[in-house]
Chain length 423, copies 2
């Protein structure tokens, strides 16, 4: 029997879920990703703040699809699609498909301000998480050599732009890292020279949450010594400062940009019509317009749902993935695809030790209960049992001893030059 | 009271042990290292072969000296010494000392063949361990795109040069990684296209060990499908092959060089007279000739012991460190330094699952008992309790499920350009 080939571009929550949901379908599945791992993005901020090592939040794709008898993986960067010849184009070569699922996710959005990409750090990939960790510890070490207090303040001021869940989690985690852990490492550290700032253009944090929870998050962050600046618009970021509207300037060498995400470059490279921000416009069946055999899911997909587009959230991607797997299974059998309906399971964010916000239907938790709920949901969802165990140990260690074990400045050496020449 | 300052260059086994041994001495201790962590080098090969994550084998120096009331740390690359003005020179600036301990360790020795540094990988630093891990998995992923079997063989042939403990451990660990773990990840992998080669110029492996143990190690490696080539001298390494004496050529893109180590650049940069290979010549008190306030320990030190120099081993470094700490304590009090005498606690090496060699005085173990001894000694010596726990889980996981969890190709992103400009 000739099994149709389903190629899935992207091994994030959408792509991986789709591959797994096709386990028993009469198709061959080929997952393609630029990385050889699936990243558990909700815990990436813990890699960036030295609570977890990469091995705890990333898992090899090949391991996660080992039990799929007709599943395989290829590591490659997606560069486009040849719809006429049904080829997914990659840097390593083209891949033929009968069905294509585009699940290439999202990337940081600088809203067209190219200089921001050079003057700020992002937090969408594991590489960026590690780079941020290296950066924080390097700045503290550098500060020990500097005699000018203004220069030291620039080194030790950490500015997070964007008051969404990532910004809130990072601001809280950086502040706790410094005040609970690093102050023990740097006995002569003057905490007056250290500053963590969270900047948000809207008049509130966590826009998707209930006003009561937004306010709880703000209070909790301020309690944790984060300078929360609401209604503040970033006008420019230079190599030594952030400039806000109203002539306010914050001297700093360290700016993390979490203020925007948009659909990935790979999605845009398909040439399909885009919704803002750079998400491929799809209908209720998640098929690309004019290409019934092409589906788009997750952050790459711009799906209208009543008022606006569905948000870029993991549950959206996973539900879309299952829907598309079901549609493909139907279509292989001569049936037709179903329409997608999103069921909102709720949203949550953590603000550091003992504080979180969770909004699950009518249930709204903040403070300690919100934090417990966050811990439980995220621990259960870490992909493998071994990682769950190690994450638990690391969390318990951090919680009990105010100690983050992974404060290393590590960067992989360049491999020998010929590895670049090898095919 | 004015406490004399002891500056220790290097936070490896020698430097760290020396700092800790000075805990109760009436001195201030300043550790200096180019990295902010102490590396447990005996387990570095497990980072390179995806058994452990960096956080398990490296620990922040500041954490390890937190309990020293008069100890501090500075991250800097050592560039030399101004003996007249008693300054340790670093890239970040000079540091004044009353006593100086040079413990800057060793680096890979290419025996003057500069091209080897470009065509081979090393395994002396954590960065190199991560780079090797990235490289192995990248080659396997690339091989899935290649249709020419010769090209695939080049990608999947791993050559380890040097039959010392590092070479033996790496060859065994790479072979097991491929045959026990990756073959499950790559269902269409043809094991005939995979090859692990260990090359040694001497007619035996593990030259420091008893002939019976050398032979046990060779047999064990061959049993694990490692091609052991003894009495083979590497004449050249190009970008696509290793050329041996007798016109033998091994086509490969992957060469790990463990065939030589020599004293670090920092040691040579002191301008002190050197013994071969690049180790600072010191007398029985470990003082630098002509500079009574300067001590040299560990791999940097060329200490004559009866026949030849003391070997570059951790126990040597640690015993020298304690001796120097005692001498400095004496000297501060007006006394004089003691002479050093090495007590050999034995040597051991592992060859993968269920196989190791250990030579402890008259006790000689090989096979399973040798392996158990190795496991026990190394687990007990991992520096912190938390790491011990996590290392144990990772080892048990690897052992029980033939599964190495950390098969990730990860490289930290470049930080924004201004971080380079910051002081």
């Amino acid at each position: 029997m000739n099994r149709p080939v389903v190629v899935i571009a992207g091994a994030g929550f959408g792509g991986l879920t789709c591959a797994r949901a096709l386990k028993h379908a009469p198709v061959d599945v080929l997952l393609v990703d630029r990385n050889n791992y699936h990243l558990f993005t909700p815990l990436l901020y813990q890699v960036a703040t030295a609570i977890l090592d990469p091995g705890e939040v990333a898992h090899p794709v090949r391991q996660l699809i080992r039990d799929l008898p007709h599943g395989d993986f290829r590591k490659a960067e997606v560069t486009g699609v040849d719809f006429d010849r049904r080829l997914l184009l990659t840097e390593e070569g083209p891949i033929h498909y009968e069905y294509l699922v585009i699940a290439t996710g999202a990337t940081t959005d600088y809203f067209g301000n190219r200089s921001l990409a050079e003057t700020t750090m992002g937090l969408k990939s594991l590489d960026e998480g590690l780079a941020f960790r290296n950066h924080v510890f390097s700045q503290f070490e550098k500060s020990r050599w500097v005699t000018d207090p203004d220069e030291r303040r620039r080194l030790l001021t950490f500015v997070v732009v964007g008051g969404g869940p990532t910004g809130v989690e990072m601001a809280g985690a950086i502040s706790e890292l410094i005040r609970l852990v690093l102050r023990k490492d740097y006995r002569d550290l003057n905490l007056n020279e250290v500053r963590v700032v969270l900047i948000e253009a809207a008049p509130f944090l966590l826009g998707r949450f209930d006003p009561r929870l937004r306010e709880a998050a703000r209070k909790s962050l301020e309690h944790k010594n984060v300078d929360v600046m609401l209604g503040s618009k970033v006008e420019a970021v230079t190599h030594e400062a952030v400039r806000l509207g109203g002539g306010i300037e914050i001297p700093t060498f360290n700016v993390l940009w979490t203020a925007g995400v948009r659909g990935s470059e790979a999605g845009a490279a398909t040439g399909l019509p885009l919704e803002r921000p750079s998400r491929i416009k799809v209908g209720a069946t998640l098929q690309a317009p004019g290409h019934g055999e092409v589906f788009v899911i997750g952050d790459s997909a711009g799906v209208t749902n009543g008022g606006g587009l569905l948000p870029m959230l993991i549950p959206v991607a996973m539900q879309e993935a299952k829907q598309v797997a079901a549609s493909i299974t139907e279509m292989v059998d001569g049936g037709s695809p179903k329409t997608f309906l999103y069921k909102d399971p709720g949203i949550m964010a953590t603000i550091g030790r003992n504080s979180g916000v969770a909004q699950l239907g009518r249930v709204k938790l903040s403070g300690f209960p919100g934090w417990l709920m966050w811990l439980f949901v995220h621990l259960v969802n870490v992909v493998t049992f071994r990682s769950r165990l190690i994450v638990l140990i690391n969390w318990a260690w951090d919680y009990l001893f105010y100690d983050r074990p992974i404060r290393l400045i590590v960067r992989a050496a360049e491999p020998p030059s010929r590895s670049k020449m090898a095919p």
